[in-house]
Symmetry: C2
């Protein structure tokens, strides 16, 4: 138990938690493990996070927000809405595929965290649909798209593309035909959006 090199911050606790989750998996990772990794008593961890559940929720949120800067930028950008819609969806799909394929065990770990934190996931989905709504609205403004209700259309788009972003379909993402299936679906949807 060496004295702490740096003061204990929520961020350092989160980092240690991620390490412990990586090493032991979601079922075995304990608060005591996190404290041990930090060289402090587990009481100190509880100073920064009220419960183990809160700690795991914070880690989940961090993971879900990972790719969001890039996506938000596409949603905010100028240019043809159709192009940006395709790019936004393709970027999302690519990010998911990278996470799922790169380290399947870690992906499974975060999946089980997401299962525990449906509220956090719902908020994340809200953000995603918000991005899509922005794109649909800009397409409506430019005359590219026709729709009565951009938000509902965005929700329909989110729903319709679930196969390419919902982790329950992760197994199918490594299928060689996945890119083509995505293109087919996107064409159908884009055609539906057009005036």
């Amino acid at each position: 138990m060496p004295p702490p090199e740096t003061p204990l911050t929520p961020d350092r606790v989160l980092e240690a938690t991620e390490d412990v989750l990586r090493r032991f998996g979601p079922a075995k990772a304990t608060v005591v493990d996190v404290a041990r990794a930090l060289g402090v008593s587990h009481g100190s961890v509880y100073r920064h996070f009220r419960t183990k559940a809160a700690l795991r929720e914070a880690v989940t949120e961090r993971w879900l927000d990972q790719a969001h800067d890039e996506l938000a930028a596409i949603a905010r950008a100028k240019g043809p809405a159709a192009e940006r819609l395709r790019e936004w969806l393709a970027t999302l799909f690519a990010a998911k595929r990278r996470k799922a394929g790169g380290d399947p065990e870690l992906f499974a770990t975060y999946l089980s965290l997401a299962d525990e934190n449906s509220g956090t996931v719902a908020r994340h989905v809200e953000t995603m649909v918000g991005d899509l709504t922005k794109i649909v609205e800009s397409g409506l403004a430019s005359g590219e798209f026709t729709t009565r209700n951009p938000r509902k259309t965005a929700q329909a788009l989110w729903s319709a593309t679930a196969h390419f972003h919902d982790p329950v379909y992760a197994e199918e993402w490594s299928d060689p035909g996945a890119e083509l299936a995505f293109a087919d679906l996107f064409d159908l949807l884009l055609n539906g959006l057009r005036a």
Copy 2:
């Protein structure tokens, strides 16, 4: 152990298995339970199904095929393809919603059976996409729809409507807005299909 009223047939075994699954759930139902329900020794059950897994697979297949006569009739019928597509999807959605909402515990039981039998489920999905392909082809023939590849389009439709037939989304089916969300999505897709 009364003597069997009727000769032991695969069908009687299946029926008894369904009963046992209903009563004990997928985790607790055993072959010995099924035999007991039939008033025979468990050895006799193994005369009709090679393994417990085969028995459970047969029950799963039966459950998946339940609503299919009605759907196949819609796919084969005459009339506007758009109408039939809407009816086919609406009928599927209604059937799923009925099963999930009517007896959630039994639904959960069959879900866990489906999880064990991915091959059987894949074959069932093939059948469903086959129905959709028929409808898309008839729409193409009548000039209602435009598409390069009816089968791929049918797959895209299956994908896109997952929120309303994939059991992973069953929780959302009881949401009061579900019908509206379905209508929004269907309109978008139908618009995409049109010439």
